[in-house]
């Protein structure tokens, strides 16, 4: 079982690495640098002007530091077929299987806690008036708590054992809030670890374990699918009747291609979420920079990234048998999709421009920014997209 676990972890690592490479592509890194830079610029500026040692700084430090603790559940990599093929394995074998899984599950939360600890360090020391050792003890405690949580999550896979991550998280938040005032709670963490380690897998609930893993994987793939195509992701289409007003009133003016593309955009969460996310991203960046030139430049980049990430829609139905056998004119497929994407980009331009009216000073510069963004949409719709989507 231990060998199987290591084999699965290695496969999972390769798969995750593949998606991480796709997610952190050149465009995304560029956007991330801009966003992170803007955020850090704002943080440094705010830190200089903030008054020292207000009453809520300490609990705020504990709360923000606790946030990365929420990331990362127990990775088990159980598959539906395990119910059939591994059903006969006893508790000891499952323990052996889960041992490397727990170590693997610690990687992500540890990285996030350390990263957040680093970012929060100037605020905690300079503004919240925490001593260096008191502050350093906090991320260390959190990492130990995470390990304890994973052990308890494992024990919760027994029949009739209840484990609630929400209650555990709430207890840890309470302990962290106490820690900023009284004492490092590392001892409590060690106690929790000892308690978790003392309990073993006896009557394993396979259905629960498989379902938990399915939900966990789905969450991870949802995250990846925000940026790239994920073949393992099962997309749940939603009707979203309230968006039907964006569809033409009569289908007679549609071609079969534009008919299906329009509905895919509005009902497939992969595309709709992308559109909403990127639009919110543009508004957020515009608000953070608070400068029409930066807002315009970054929004142009975001609109381009939106168009770029909507390109897979061109191949969405290529493997659907009913689409392939229908007497549809495939020669107009590319043009039909470009027309649909044109209207999507225009809608995005409209949303961003309206948000600018609320967050940027209304003057001639704003008109220039909005016009530039419109020209960008036009260029994408008339040159970039037709070139990328052929036939």
């Amino acid at each position: 079982m231990n060998k199987l676990a290591k084999q699965r972890l290695s496969q999972n690592f390769k798969r995750s690495l593949k998606y991480l490479t796709l997610v952190f592509n050149d465009f995304f890194i560029l956007a991330l640098i801009f966003l992170f830079g803007a955020l850090m610029f704002w943080y440094a500026k705010t830190l200089k002007t903030m008054p020292n040692n207000l009453w809520f700084y300490k609990p705020l430090t504990a709360f923000v530091l606790w946030l990365p603790f929420l990331a990362g559940r127990l990775v088990t990599l159980f598959k539906a077929a395990d119910l059939q093929f591994l059903f006969s394995q006893d508790g000891e074998a499952i323990e052996q299987y889960l041992k490397p899984m727990i170590s693997y599950s610690m990687i992500l939360p540890t990285i996030l806690i350390v990263l957040m600890g680093g970012i929060l360090y100037p605020f905690a020391i300079l503004k919240a008036d925490l001593s260096l050792w008191q502050y350093l003890a906090m991320p260390v405690s959190l990492i130990l708590y995470k390990y304890a949580q994973l052990l308890h999550e494992k024990v919760g896979l027994n029949f009739e054992k209840t484990y609630s991550s929400s209650i555990f998280n709430a207890i840890i938040l309470a302990l962290m809030l106490l820690e900023v005032y009284f004492m490092p709670s590392a001892l409590v963490a060690v106690g929790l670890i000892a308690l978790g380690a003392s309990k073993k897998i006896t009557t394993f609930d396979w259905n629960l374990a498989i379902e938990n893993e399915r939900v966990r994987k789905d969450r991870i793939y949802s995250l990846f699918s925000m940026f790239t195509d994920v073949e393992e992701k099962q997309v749940v289409i939603k009707r979203r009747k309230y968006l039907d007003f964006l569809l033409p009133k009569t289908f007679a003016r549609d071609t079969p291609n534009s008919f299906i593309y329009r509905r895919s955009l509005l009902r497939n969460p992969e595309y709709l979420n992308l559109l909403v996310r990127m639009t919110i991203f543009a508004v957020l960046v515009s608000w953070l920079t608070a400068n029409w030139r930066w807002a315009c430049g970054l929004s142009c980049l975001i609109v381009f990234l939106t168009a770029y990430q909507l390109l897979p829609l061109a191949k969405e139905f290529d493997n659907n048998i009913m689409y392939r056998i229908a007497p549809i004119d495939y020669s107009t497929k590319g043009n039909d999709l470009v027309k649909v994407l044109d209207s999507v980009l225009l809608l995005q331009w409209l949303c961003i421009s309206i948000s600018w009216l609320l967050i940027l000073p209304i003057n001639f510069d704003l008109l220039i920014a909005s016009s530039t963004l419109l020209v960008m949409c036009f260029l994408l719709g008339h040159f970039y997209l037709p070139n990328k989507i052929k036939g």
Binding site: I260, R324, P327
Partner: protein, 246 residues
């Protein structure tokens, strides 16, 4: 008005599944394609639908060649697959609209016919549902409704009775009979001969990728040396022996 399959050899890259198939379906004729799993039934259908490219041979419908006039050919063909394939993004109503758009049907007439079919299969109150809300049997009914709505010259049906309730099976058989009465053509693969016999009189036995015999059930019994009172399922045992699996 004939479907002609001439010297069709095909399958997947490097794996020929069907060899030198010759078949002809005339107007008003329904042909049942029967054989064991892996005999090549689905591969033959995939070639007729244009999902696979023949390695040799040709397929034409009323003189329209699939390889040179694919869209014109496809306009004359509707398909009911064994496993229902719907567009997850479209509601039932929109599947009807999509069929109307794809086959360029008159919308008013098509919707009139659609309402009749939807009522027949008890789907008329589910027009706004997405495929995710349908059971497998209901999805299959949607496939049947859209295929019959397309009103094509040739109807290709792959294992149609799987997952359907007895009422829906009876309705489907009635519809197939109506289509045959209108001088259209039906090609059906099935293992459920008891149901198929109600609508189909001619069968082609496909074995190891080749057609062994085309004829009535009586002629097929004679060919395989079955007695008149033998259950027809005995044919499958005979085919199994022929292929050397027993």
């Amino acid at each position: 008005m004939t479907l002609k399959i001439e010297h069709l050899t095909g399958g997947y890259t490097g794996i020929p599944v069907i060899k030198d198939i010759n078949l002809e379906i005339k107007p008003g004729q329904a042909l049942g394609l029967i054989g064991l799993n892996g005999a090549g039934k689905s591969t033959t259908i995939k070639h007729i639908l244009g999902l696979l490219r023949p390695q040799k041979g040709s397929i034409s419908l009323n003189g329209v060649s699939l390889s040179t006039q694919a869209r014109k050919f496809k306009k004359q063909v509707a398909y009911i697959p064994e496993t229902p394939v719907l567009y997850p993004e479209l509601s039932l109503k929109e599947h009807i609209d999509m069929t109307i758009l794809s086959y360029e049907l008159d919308a008013d007439q098509a919707w009139k016919r659609a309402h009749e079919l939807l009522k027949l299969f008890r789907l008329d109150d589910k027009l706004d549902w997405l495929p995710i809300h349908f059971s497998k049997g209901m999805k299959q009914k949607v496939m049947i409704v859209t295929a019959f709505l397309a009103d094509t010259q040739l109807l290709v049906i792959d294992e149609p009775f799987t997952g359907l309730d007895p009422l829906a099976v009876a309705n489907l058989i009635d519809l197939i009979k109506q289509v045959i009465a209108q001088d259209k053509m039906v090609l059906m693969t099935t293992h459920v001969l008891a149901d198929a016999q109600q609508a189909i009189s001619t069968y082609a036995v496909l074995n190891n990728g080749t057609i062994e015999i085309v004829g009535s059930l009586a002629e097929i019994r004679d060919f395989y040396g079955l007695k008149a009172d033998d259950p027809f399922d005995k044919l499958y045992l005979t085919l199994n022996k022929v292929t050397g699996h027993e």
